[in-house]
Symmetry: C2
């Protein structure tokens, strides 16, 4: 218990079984043994994405998958609707521009969610939009976007539906085929709870058809090469993969299946609800609208008169609990509590005990036990 | 000893201390603890590259670094001289084209090395060449290029000198500053002997100056962002790094320093000479010109009347030693024996015993002990 408890929106605490799997001897990535491991891992990924399509593992973090999603499926010069209500929405818009497409930003106030209506309106107003990008779980603001509802709208338009589930997959409901998502991707180090360094991506038939028509100016992230090599016997990646991290990812995905995907998602929702209740019980205010708040990270307004370094510094230095701060204009204005991956009442008990004691110590008029008392309704 | 012995040109056998370092708990990649680890690792990388410049770790394999090297430092439409004498030379030429530069290929017969004279001739003939790319160690043919001599020529021209040392750094002499290399990169899983999944890159002042003028259409591999984030306190990577692999890389680089860089390079040269002697003693023929043969991988012509699956299949299935085959038009025509990383006489003893017995078993008229007997002059 001497270790730092990571209550971050990634990386998350990694199960010792996953760390041990990672430490196995490295095998040849062009051989049968690895081919089998890679195939099993990508099959587990497709099961987790809930898609009949193949999935691919990229040796690179979530941002690599973000770039692969955009660069491979949209012709240069074409228009993309980027829903932007936080830092990761901005990143997808930046990538859109870096790759020479026209980024049409659908501005969403930070702390609120984009709605299916807004997306529909934008698509109605401009028939040249070739793709829509949505961050399912905007880690920077703690907001979940209604991707199922947006998916229903998208079915009436030709535009590709590109969804970032980096910090939501396995922690919130993502059903790629049911929602009609064309390009979906995630990272290893969030709710899958493997170490950071890998991302996974899956493309629909429409997305592949688009990719086949594009001479994408990206080499390492060229998805057609991932597909070609994935279809070889034994299955391969186009370039040397991170064999050790794929061992870890496979084990982490097996643990997801052991728990059951639905049960894991429900556990995250319960932890999120418990976290919100405990936050409020300590007299703090949620940053986002509660009805669109994330299942995997809770953003909380900084209490008046307390600085980020006081609050998060005390939490870390005195109590060994690491929370995340705000990014960009939210720096110093919010704290973010990640509840991703292996999260039970125990982690929340430690976190809210520490938070209660920290607030008390900083002179807040608060019952330091009120946070954990509020967990009673959830565990 | 029941494990498969990897005698491949990467991945190589990883020291158990490195595997154990990798299995440590994942820490926050934006925190002080990781910042210190990352800084120490990049400093060790600069020491290994023998440069006063900073180095950066990319979460991605060698190909990611190849793309970063080209995409960041050469303006679109400009001319690049790609020395191509094997598969990795071709890859750099492909990346050059994918990124919209003009690739001028300096064709080198596979199995021979490019010479400094040929590079000089090409630069004299065309003053528009903005960069020259050379694969130091062409893994596909087992040839080492004379980068020190080429570096001397390059000093008389304005073009950037871009050198791929993916399969040579720590196994052959690479002195970035002394040779005047502008962009140098390597992979984790070759002579550094860490697991695959990371690459490292360093840029000269001239290369940075070029990068600052380019709006590179790459996001994940944008080196300016690596520099900006590397300069933060604590030092960071622009996107989530593979924390576990960086633990491993740091430990592997520490082991390099323990051994001594020069001693490690000398050990590789000795292993290469021993391998060539043993190969010839078994009546086999080297594929490349011996005077340009690689210090880290030896390419050998397939003996008459024996197929790749007979030779490599028997080596693997019966004797547990994995060799690499040929690529592209060399498929079936050569075998490649990697001697990278943790290679002593023990690995060569096993390999050449197995190779002698395999050849004998396949009906070759050979003394199966002749290979290991030839090792006597080297160990």
């Amino acid at each position: 218990m001497d270790d730092i408890l990571l209550m971050l929106p990634g990386p998350t605490t990694v199960d010792p079984r996953v760390l041990q799997a990672m430490a196995k001897d490295v095998v040849n990535h062009r051989g049968d043994e690895f081919g089998e491991i890679y195939t099993e891992t990508t099959k587990l990924m497709s099961k987790t994405f809930q898609t009949k399509n193949d999935s691919y593992i990229i040796t690179g973090s979530g941002t690599a998958a973000m770039e692969a999603a955009i660069a491979n499926t949209i012709p240069r010069g074409e228009k993309v609707l980027n829903a932007v209500g936080g830092k990761f929405g901005e990143r997808l818009a930046d990538i859109t521009k870096v790759h020479g497409m026209e980024s049409k930003v659908l501005d969403v106030e930070w702390g609120t969610a984009v709605t299916a209506d807004k997306i529909e309106e934008a698509l109605e107003a401009d028939e040249d939009i070739k793709a829509v990008t949505v961050i399912h779980n905007e880690t920077s603001t703690g907001v979940a976007q209604p991707i199922e509802e947006i998916g229903k709208v998208m079915k009436n338009y030709d535009a590709l539906f590109i969804v970032d589930t980096v910090s939501s997959l396995c922690g919130d409901a993502v059903d790629v085929d049911k929602y009609g998502i064309d390009v979906c991707f995630t990272g290893s180090q969030k709710c899958i709870a493997a170490p950071p360094g890998l991302s996974a991506i899956t493309l629909s038939d429409d997305a592949w058809a688009a990719a086949e028509k594009i001479d994408a100016p990206t080499y390492y992230l060229n998805m057609l090469k991932y597909r070609d090599n994935g279809n070889k016997t034994p299955a391969q990646t186009p370039y040397t993969p991170s064999v050790s991290l794929i061992y870890a990812m496979k084990k982490a995905l097996e643990i997801v299946q052991e728990e059951g995907l639905d049960a894991r998602v429900a556990r995250h929702h319960n932890a999120a609800a418990a976290t919100r209740a405990a936050v409020k019980a300590l007299g703090l205010e949620l940053f986002p609208d509660e009805d669109v708040s994330s299942a995997t990270v809770t953003a909380v307004k900084m209490p008046e008169g307390i600085t980020d370094s006081q609050l998060r510094g005390t939490m870390l230095d005195k109590y060994g609990v690491q929370l995340a701060g705000g990014q960009d204009h939210l720096k110093g204005n919010i704290i973010r509590i990640g509840h991703m991956g292996v999260i039970s009442y125990k982690e929340l008990a430690i976190t809210f005990t520490a938070l209660g004691l920290t607030l008390k110590g900083l002179g807040c008029d608060v019952d330091p036990g009120a946070g954990v008392a509020a967990l009673a309704n959830f565990y």
